[in-house]
Subunit: 454 residues, 4 copies
């Protein structure tokens, strides 16, 4: 028995069943489906549609169905096309007639939207836990290396010295924006559709505000036609997951690169490295490559759902069933990645000696220009003079910090003996102590803020 | 003169210039660039780096540059590779040496991020104005037709009668979520990057909190490496624009369909319709087709930027320059669409007679089931009985509402003479008066809420 | 035992295993993996690396492994991280030492690329079978209705009368382009990577041309570094599947619309229709909605893989593992959709009476203009006159074909009594007999061509 | 005057004009539009619809219109909504009445499809020229460095020594696949839609095969409804451009990385490098970063068009106008990138000393395993022994190639004095001389093949 067969003269085709049925993937929402039904039964009782006794039987029966799912003993029926059908079918088997009353005034359209919003709200919180796990690992390592030096890059070219802690914290803040975006997502999902019926609303005197409160929703939807066709919250979640995935891909890329011996900044722990079936010496950073590559999948799921939504008329359309596999896919992908990424960060060896030895004096050219600024030269000229000094050092094959005062004074009379103070990576870094700067003190302030947020 | 030539021995290749230069599109941020520089000059004065006199000259000079842009008299220089270079070059022409000091401690990396955030914050507000314009049109028409009847569809098949106002308001709420999402976007953009330098922060004693306040930012960035490489706000805006575009595409689809004479629900005003070069009678809803089709472009821009960001190492990379054309493209697309869409809604003729005559009695089958529920039959059985009644009416070729009581009683003894009350579209609609329902009263409550939000 | 543990001091982390392992999805390539290994063993024998006896044992052992997979009796080992490991592990269990020699000179990098190309080549053929099944259904129905009339739409507005067969055949040709594109895909996939080793080629005297021939490849790859990192063929297949999905989405949209009673052109067979849990009368075209909506998923998979490939350095990177789930996902999606879509087309009722009665005389306005052209009026003027005639008929409330000769002659003296011949849908349609036109004869020529292609 | 105003009582709204008009971007197809009209005039003359004199006047007039466009003197009219309208309007101004006859039997629907196919066919050829330019640069550099050594990476970790020429050629073959894919695209575009009218075909006795031949099309379309709505060729081109963009992004990534001094393999010529407004020493590989980043844009354009096409009913819909800006955007993006990328490759300095010195003995571990294989040990065991040797060398802090024979013999008795022959990068590379391998000879064979293809 499907929930809807009365008007049809033929059974549904088997291939259509395979195409249409969603139980294989929507069964993971069973707890939300049952919670929604429990609350609905109570609300319909308050509305005078169900008796207290019917309601009590339904609630008890649903408890048993949930227990079967929890225990893995739930038996799938031949016509269980989706989780809603499966739960109702089993409920009726368990308690008989009152079970046949549960669906009064309700449609799978408002039911599935309710279930999925409940699921997404939970999943957002789980996602935030994963993100925080990675953030905590970053903070932990940043604290250990707040004052260690490494080259900072722009355009992947040596730019200025930075602190290792600063570099690690640059990822913390990316993920903090994901936390914020996930908060937005939860707020957008926090609206109850139940009581919208199939499209037109319910003819029963349902107190939707109370129903929303019972299910933990902040508010209820304002328009039934919209409520059953609204998948914005699913797209919002896919977007938040995709952005988290993009941030993770950037971290992945950088860890992969810095693991290359040309840099040699990082070595992953053995248990987070992999080898090769052919090359015995290989030690690959597979998890960080997947962290990089799987952002594609997450962007693809987002694109896919937006494309599905494009051009749909309002009201429920079957196309909307595409929401779930995309969301589950992106969520599960991140769920496999994040704990491993956190563990990689926590356990990787940071070779601070190699990081420091990758610094080159030219990275202080900006400091040399700033020196001239302090002596009164306009920056734009100072930049040019420092550029010429770099070129001279390259032409002469002399390290930039070993240009003589004579060399420098040829380019500007403002250079004096104290110019030698410029050529210290530590000084360069320590000077950048304004908020957000790379100075160890500024980094420690960042870390403190970060800890407050975690 | 570029801003950076000192170290190079050859001029930049012309083809590279064409590829690299951004002035053709980033010039539209000139006001933001100049506002940022004015505030920066003041902050550097407070920091003791510029004198009051230099600052005053800079501020006055920038005012002149802005006036030239405003008036359309700004002359592009051969080396104006981007708006920042153009403004600085012109400033120096106008005021000489103090202009050469403006860039002290600043990089185009933090400068462009600041400019673009200022621009996006403004653009978000403009977008909300467009959205509200369309919402106002929807509310206006919904109010006129709060009680008129039309068929409601699910799966594009006749489902239940709804009110025309309810249908129109279903779009209002979609766009209201866009308003909310745009609020989120503005909040995410509302962070000052200036003072981050190229990547490592500023060595000058800049009060970034004061600088943020002066530029109207809610707060300043926490990590300089992240601040110059963060384009989350651009992606957030593209996402918000894409979702607005998706909602518009759904409205577009439905207006296009309902303009087909098979429905005949809607006629667009002549001045918003177009014809055919070949077929003299044609009257096409071009603007709503574009509203539907251009969602593709907006989703494409979002996908494009996310793909560009995927796998980028932290710190500024030139790839980030891809942010602007995508954002400008999506914003301009919506800016062309929204006012036309609002005008279409405001001026279209709604043929309420055709809408009403498209109702068919079978759309009351749920009400018939609800009748049986009220007589005590469990809903699941009532649904089945009503389904059989539909089938009988089809088999007999008798309209569903003209089945006799005998016919009905064959299927259930619970049917009584009062069943005839079920067969009224008005009754069906009016019964759905719980929050969010299609009853005229519930729709008027929606409209009141909507007006409060506008 | 993994294939690569010698250099590591710690076992791989369990979470990393869950993230990294691909056996759960790549096991479906077992037949291809084994075929590749059989051919490789023979080639290495010809190269003098394996003895005939070793080769024979390997080939026999692999036959047993395949039989276990075929029979569903293959037992997964704890370290079977992918299908290659699983097959090799089991082979060694079955035949001992010779099995340990199979991987000589081979890497999983060239092995997986070979397996997947073999799989894709097969899958392309399967996909073509599905497409042809749908095409055959379209041709069958088109033949039945080659001369029946229906309104043709542009911009979803009544344009000109067309034949039903012509409309159905318009989809045939879309799918025929998919057939062509799939041929391209197969050709692109038809290149053997085996013998590329991990990246640098093989040091053994392998005759790669013979190996390619044995495995049925048209040719072998030209550069080992490229060969192991090339996933163009996977992207090509995803693109071909996405385009097929887009075509199917267009057919889906139109069948859904034409099933709405406002059109009433089409009724799906009961066994391909679905109902509603709430509304007893509902009869939804679910499969065609899914055909429309799942194009999103297919576009998403394509976007996802392209994004993953973007910016990858050459040589194998783990990111490439993302190819398989995307391809399997798009292929399986189409595999569920296509047979149902073909059955829907084959079994749907076409209501030719309703189609014909949806024609309106204004759809002959172009024919009226053509009439004037034949009388000597330039088309651009004739178009304008016909437009004015449409407007007059609307203003007067007179059907377009019932304007009197007086009415018409007011607009142009070229109108004569024979103008009445214009007002025949059959005449209009029959006139369009040039190649590709909607005349029944031209449609029958199309159908004949189509049959030749099937 | 628009081409279609007769039936309307109000002028078109200005905002709608801004939204709808395409002349600003479709004017670049003027040559194709005019070529199409010239051929159409001739075909209509052969069909007896135009006289020889009219045809001659039209052809001459169109020649003048083209000359105006070519010379940049074409003046835009107020109602020139698209290139077709503009050309026809100007033609009528120039030659009067015969110009009013040109559009007989033609629609902008079949006209624009024809124009755009002609444009795409040309653009495909131009794209191939760009691709070949880059390929030629790769071959040139590969030839210079066919025998130089560098580390080959997989997972961005040192894998095996390869030759520089081999690495460069790995990109050649990627681009060769683009050439093939562009050939496919041209073939798909090579179909004439003209003669399809608006949707139903032409009622005039047009010889479409002859018309196709005159315009250089391989064949004509088979179904008019499909022909006007088919944008597969545009999607195919976007896909081919996106794939080329993806390949370019991979090259971009690698050049950017190898320009970092940690590698130091590559230095871009000064005129293809850029600097920093703040940091005087900077030398950035901007063009290759854009090559990497702009793949996002190209993927976005593809996604965008596919999304627009999804779910469109057959027949022309205005949404299809979205095809052009996407295609022009992707084409122009690649057109700016490719010549610069070719110049970068041609002019960059390859530091073969640094490349060679980045080799480490562990990269010969596979060769050590192969040594044991040749001594009779099964590869899987040999791999394990070699892995243990790597681990021993790491534990002892002894370079892998300086493990003593005693060390090695502890791990396997098969090691003999000749093992020292293994530790030569040249030997390792030269051994890989099978087709596609990295041996200098094999690379030279590749280069010869490549030259034959160019």
């Amino acid at each position: 028995m499907t929930l809807w067969g009365g008007v049809f003269s033929e059974p549904t085709d088997d291939d259509l069943r395979k195409l249409n049925d969603s139980f294989s993937f929507d069964r993971r929402m069973y707890a939300q489906d049952i919670a929604g039904s429990v609350a609905y039964a109570r609300a319909m009782t308050r509305a005078g549609v169900l008796t207290d006794s019917e309601s009590a039987q339904i609630v008890a029966g649903l408890g048993k169905v949930k227990a079967e799912f929890d225990a893995g003993t739930f038996t799938v029926g031949a016509n269980d096309e989706d989780v809603h059908t499966a739960v109702e079918r089993r409920l009726v088997e368990l308690i008989g007639e009152p079970g046949l009353k549960l669906h009064t005034g309700r449609s799978r359209n408002d039911q599935v939207a309710t279930d999925f919003r409940l699921w997404v709200k939970d999943a957002v919180t789980v996602t935030q836990t994963w993100v925080k796990g990675l953030q905590a690992a970053l903070v932990e390592r940043a604290e250990q290396h707040a004052a260690d030096l490494m080259p900072g890059f722009t355009h992947m070219q040596p730019a200025q010295p930075v602190t290792v802690g600063h570099w690690l914290m640059s990822y913390f803040w990316q993920f903090q924006r994901d936390i914020d975006r996930l908060d937005d997502t939860r707020r957008h999902a926090d609206v109850l559709p139940l009581g919208s019926g199939a499209l037109a609303g319910t003819p029963f005197p349902l107190d939707r505000a109370a129903l929303a409160a019972e299910l933990g929703f902040a508010r209820h939807s304002e328009n039934s036609l919209d409520a059953v066709a609204d998948r914005d919250f699913a797209a919002d979640f896919l977007y938040a997951l995709a952005m988290t995935g993009v941030h993770l891909s950037r971290l992945g890329e950088e860890i992969v690169l810095f693991s290359n011996p040309a840099f040699g900044f990082v070595t992953l722990a053995d248990r987070y490295s992999t080898g090769s079936s052919l090359m015995p010496q290989k030690r690959n950073a597979d998890p960080m490559e997947l962290a990089r590559g799987q952002a594609g999948r997450q962007i693809g799921h987002l694109t896919g759902l937006l494309t599905t939504l494009k051009g749909l008329p309002t009201g429920y359309n079957k196309d909307l069933q595409e929401d779930k596999e995309a969301v589950f896919g992106s969520f599960d992908t991140l769920g496999r990645l994040m704990p491993v990424a956190a563990a990689v960060i926590r356990t990787m060896t940071l070779h601070t000696d190699k990081m420091k030895s990758a610094l080159v004096p030219e990275m202080l050219a900006t400091d040399l220009a700033d020196y001239l600024v302090k002596k009164g030269m306009p920056f734009r000229q100072a930049h040019h003079v420092a550029g010429r000094a770099v070129r001279l050092s390259r032409d002469l094959g002399i390290p930039f910090d070993q240009l003589t005062l004579d060399h420098l004074q040829e380019m500007s009379g403002l250079f004096e003996a104290d110019v030698s103070d410029v050529f210290s990576y530590e000084t360069s870094v320590s000077a950048r102590q304004a908020d957000g700067g790379t100075a160890p003190d500024a980094v420690r302030r960042q870390i403190q803020q970060a800890k407050n947020l975690l």
